[in-house]
Symmetry: C2
Subunit: 493 residues, 2 copies
């Protein structure tokens, strides 16, 4: 069946049902006015127009008969009624107009790269936890329970499913962070928290680490924010004097930082550095957004106080469950206070209206039934084993001149290579051997002051890691030998 | 237990495990440097530091003994080891610094209003479908099936769950819209499509209807876009000459419009208007974002061709499932083409990284098993009944001078009141009688050229609608009588 034309019935929309003569007049006017455009188009079937106008089929039928009599419409048998071509012409249907595309911003290729298919590849730089360790059966049960909740089919709370916000606040309080459910705003993973904060901020300058969490950096840059890059060295820590100088000179409105296990360096701030940052915030008047993504990951990482604990509730605190339950759930949150929540909530309502409540209700069940803590306890020994095993392998296999950090928690460490080595060439050689090494170029501002890459030890099994590091070691030795043998020749030339 | 300090071990992070003397040096240096800040803080327990550095507990224990001997740390029995106060002072712990809040944009109260609790209230202006008509048991089964899919625990496709994108493309093709899965980008409801497009757009000017979909308008305004308001009158339609003049004068980069059942007017564009808009787009070079939210709602609404069908694949087409399955699922999508998808995808990755794949996989099952179409078929007669019943009630009960539209589909119509009547006063009186009338003030640009409100007939049962409209009628008559009796007195004064 052909689609049918959409006709206006402005004149008859007075509340009283139109009579057939009013229908005739309305259609006749449009057919005449739009003769060129509408000729050959199908009319709405009688039952459709009758339903729309709330009149009997008879009324419409009478009107159509009159229009046929006037030669304005014609029957094409079973195909229905059509607007008759204007006498002088024989146009069958309106020729589709091809309209121009809206002009959109460029799309950098780096941000479009598909995620590596780890079913076939060993991904050495993933900051995720091995999906084989994630709970699934329990989560299914939680979805079932969630979908049975009355009210869930209705409207969701734009701030986030209230029982989940309560459960989050309770967990935070157990970790020494004062938190009320009404100060929690849930989000689609932690990436959305960065977006909510960025779009709520008055200031156009955000300070963050160099190297930065690269999706955060890319987001801020795309939002035309000015970024102040604060260098960190996972081996030497923070140059406090340099940071203070930069902060004083550029006066950012916000400092976004990851207290523990920063991505990509794996660095955790020392208490001394934290104290200095809080002092500068108070003195220079910038706000703080603390990313605590690693807080539930690996042993012994629960007890270091956060910026939010030490700096008070003006510190925006963010976290997510993405790394600890199936990432496909994508639930994160930001903890604000009376003063900061309203703007964040407006940003959430305007950007996505609300987070999907079904997943939030399922996660709430998962937390409330104790499955989440049980899950963390269950995977901890395995993650610890992977961490120790990774350090051991590095000590065994890495050639002279390669250094790495020992972050003690979180899912990643930084592996630093000798200066002469080509990292892109190394990554390409590994890729040929089915090992994926993601370089962190886009995480740096300008020329990188580090020459290495992140290495994720929570993602691969110990056997996979052994294979991957043996290959890495062989390729590193190969590359180092080549760079040493080639260099003199180049110099001689 | 007190939280413990985070210490830096930069000097020892060379890959070889540090010896106890290196640990002593690293800690001693930080204790001395940070004496004021760190005095009274707890040290990491021996097992924690041993794990972190990948050394034996003995090594750490030896180091701690040495630090005790130097008077830099002290034991507090079962509570653990603490950094000793500096000789001259007796500070117990670093005094928490209260940092300032980041300065955020103001949060308009209208955007923070909680959604009305319709368990106790009759909501007359809801554009949602009655949640009591929505499927639930089948959806639960679909979640169960989705969670059994291999791979779902892993990474989700940032563009959206591929089988769902395939199912969406298939549905669209059945409706005459050319669509490929690789041109579909899923979103958190249709609100996020507006955000993705707004943040991808180069032009800073968007044209939209006046009155507009108010959350879209608020989003664009908050993103500092300039809006060109194109007036529509649900009774008289579009003043084509006026639109052309406005579009020529202001040259927007994009026209955002809802082809059918526009919110809040319920208006559907006539084929003649659609043809004119496509012509202007081609002539003036603006892109089009077509919101087709009502396409699956109520009878007879599947067959009107869309702007995308007539204008080609440069038209951005958006739709969502929010109104037809439990809104708590929050799944929408935008259909672009080769040229427009990359920028939209970058915007999606940067704002939320990816949509939750579990819900998308469940929706895919729901579509694929045929439950969705069966559900639409099942609710259609009830929704048609509600529509006809609503029109009948209006004809029976509304006082002289009140007019309404007969949109024939979608979930809402526009009810226009006589000029003298105070709409806020009417809404307040209804609220006292547990009936919620949402006014559309924020949907208009400047002084509204309409004087009424939207009325949703898919949300309330026929009994509820009867009660609500009887009360509305009584209050309207009351208000009209008062405004007529009061007016002369005012004139006399």
């Amino acid at each position: 069946m052909d689609p049918y034309v959409s006709l206006a019935f402005g004149g008859t929309r007075s509340g009283r049902p139109p009579g057939s003569s009013e229908i005739v007049d309305a259609i006749a006017e449009q057919v005449r006015d739009g003769a060129r455009a509408l000729a050959g188009c199908r009319l709405p079937p009688i039952r459709v127009l009758a339903h729309r106008l709330g009149v009997s089929k008879n009324t419409v039928s009478t009107a159509y008969d009159e229009l046929k009599a006037r030669g304005l419409i014609e029957s094409r048998g079973k195909r229905g009624l059509y607007i008759a071509p204007a006498p002088a012409q024989r146009v069958v249907a309106p020729a589709p107009t091809r309209v121009p595309a809206p002009e959109l911003k460029p799309a950098p290729a780096a941000l479009l790269r598909p995620r590596p298919n780890h079913a076939k590849l060993l991904v050495l730089s993933s900051v995720f936890i091995d999906p084989r360790l994630l709970p699934r059966a329990r989560l299914t049960a939680c979805f079932r329970a969630a979908l049975k909740r009355p009210g869930l089919s209705d409207f969701s709370d734009p701030q986030g499913f209230l029982p989940l916000r309560r459960a989050i606040a309770k967990r935070l309080r157990q970790r020494g962070i004062e938190a009320e459910p009404e100060h929690v705003v849930t989000s689609v993973g932690s990436q959305q928290v960065l977006d909510l904060v960025a779009r709520s901020l008055r200031s156009r300058t955000i300070a963050t680490e160099n190297p930065a969490y690269h999706y955060g950096k890319a987001l801020f840059e795309r939002n035309d924010l000015e970024l102040l890059a604060l260098p960190i060295d996972p081996f030497a820590g923070v140059d406090l004097a340099r940071w203070e100088q930069l902060l004083r000179a550029h006066r950012p409105g916000l400092l976004y930082m990851t207290t523990h296990f920063q991505n990509p360096t794996g660095y955790s701030y020392s208490s001394r550095e934290i104290a200095a940052i809080l002092e500068w915030s108070a003195a220079l008047g910038f706000g703080i957004l603390e990313d605590d993504w690693g807080s539930d990951m690996l042993s012994y990482s629960e007890f270091t106080p956060s910026l939010r604990t030490l700096g008070g509730d003006n510190v925006l605190y963010m976290n997510s469950f993405t790394k600890k339950v199936p990432p496909a759930l994508r639930i994160g949150y930001v903890l604000g206070n009376e003063q900061t929540v309203p703007a964040l909530l407006v940003s959430k309502r305007l950007s996505i209206s609300g987070t999907p409540a079904i997943g939030e209700a399922a996660l709430y069940e998962f937390l409330e039934q104790g499955y989440y803590d049980a899950h963390l306890r269950a995977i901890q020994p395995e993650l610890d084993r992977r961490y120790r095993h990774c350090l051991e392998l590095l000590r065994q296999h890495m050639p002279e001149g390669v250094r790495w950090t020992a972050p003690g928690g979180g899912p990643l460490l930084w592996l630093e290579c000798p200066a002469g080595l080509s990292l892109p060439a190394l990554a390409a050689r590994l890729r040929e051997r089915s090992i994926v090494l993601e370089l962190s170029d886009s995480a740096f501002f300008g020329t990188p002051h580090l020459h290495g890459f992140k290495l994720g030890y929570a993602f691969l099994s110990t056997e996979e890691m052994q294979r991957a590091l043996e290959v890495l070691s062989a390729e590193l030795r190969h590359a180092l030998a080549r760079s040493q043998s080639v260099k003199p020749a180049v110099r001689a030339g």
